[in-house]
Symmetry: C2
Subunit: 183 residues, 2 copies
Amino acid sequence: MLEATWQLIAEVGYRRVRIADIAKRVGTSTGTIHYHFDTKEDVLDAAFRYAVADSRSRSEEAIAGIDDPWERLVALLDAHMPREDLRREWVIWLQLWNEASVRPELRSLNETHYGRWIDLVESIVLDGQERGAFRQIDARAFVMRLLTMMDGAAIQVTMGSIEFRLERVRTLLLGFAREQLLP
Amino acid sequence: MLEATWQLIAEVGYRRVRIADIAKRVGTSTGTIHYHFDTKEDVLDAAFRYAVADSRSRSEEAIAGIDDPWERLVALLDAHMPREDLRREWVIWLQLWNEASVRPELRSLNETHYGRWIDLVESIVLDGQERGAFRQIDARAFVMRLLTMMDGAAIQVTMGSIEFRLERVRTLLLGFAREQLLP
């Protein structure tokens, strides 16, 4: 049910999703949806949480079994690039940020998720530095720069920007990481 | 009327704004609003355009009378940092991107606005390079990296992120620009 809900949010937008639409997509009654969730906002918040969990498990899968720090970093970034098949996920982040900008109670979800995302990428950088594969730059500042750059660029890809095509964005991000990290 | 409308959008969110709310804020009748605009979406699209024009004139004011390329760049970035008094503007961008992700007809507004924003910052960088004040890096790639980083970081500031405080974000952005541009 949560997967169907977040797909619906990504397609038509959080504000346009109605309980009846969710029930129809899941193939159940609106009563069943209401049995599990008190309000429409509860359903949608749960769908956001689902998207966060989905993103996290994709991160883990992406780097499992890779030992080389640079390859780990590239695999992790590639697992979250705004590819066509991940377009829905980026639309979800945009909606979460948008909703949270006027509903402060949603901000803790961003804080937790984004904090863990930074920690994960930083752990790869620190590991690479310990092993002598990466330069001794300020790992935290680098990761904050890299991931905010990724968010801003992903927005432009999601907007269908002519200049920010996926391949160009990938080159900008990996080029930045290479220049900063590799000796 | 447009200023009041975009302020309303920034406060309660695009999806929650009603024609009646706009009329009340402006101090007129809903009939007057409808006389100028066919649909609610027309009003809101016009408000987005107002925000874009407002942002552009703030850019021009920020750099007027400054000759030094580095000082011009810093003044321009400072004029758009997600300061508390510009919070509403960043909320507007988030809403524009969010709406445009499910309403493709709004994307041309982002394309034009963002294109001009990149061009403006790039022109300062190119001028600095011609005058020998900046290093001969790929100006376009640098500006694309810098401005997407600014967007992603501004989102986190707008989310009230503990780690992404305004001063930290300013240091991350200006530190990146300094490292890339200054000899």
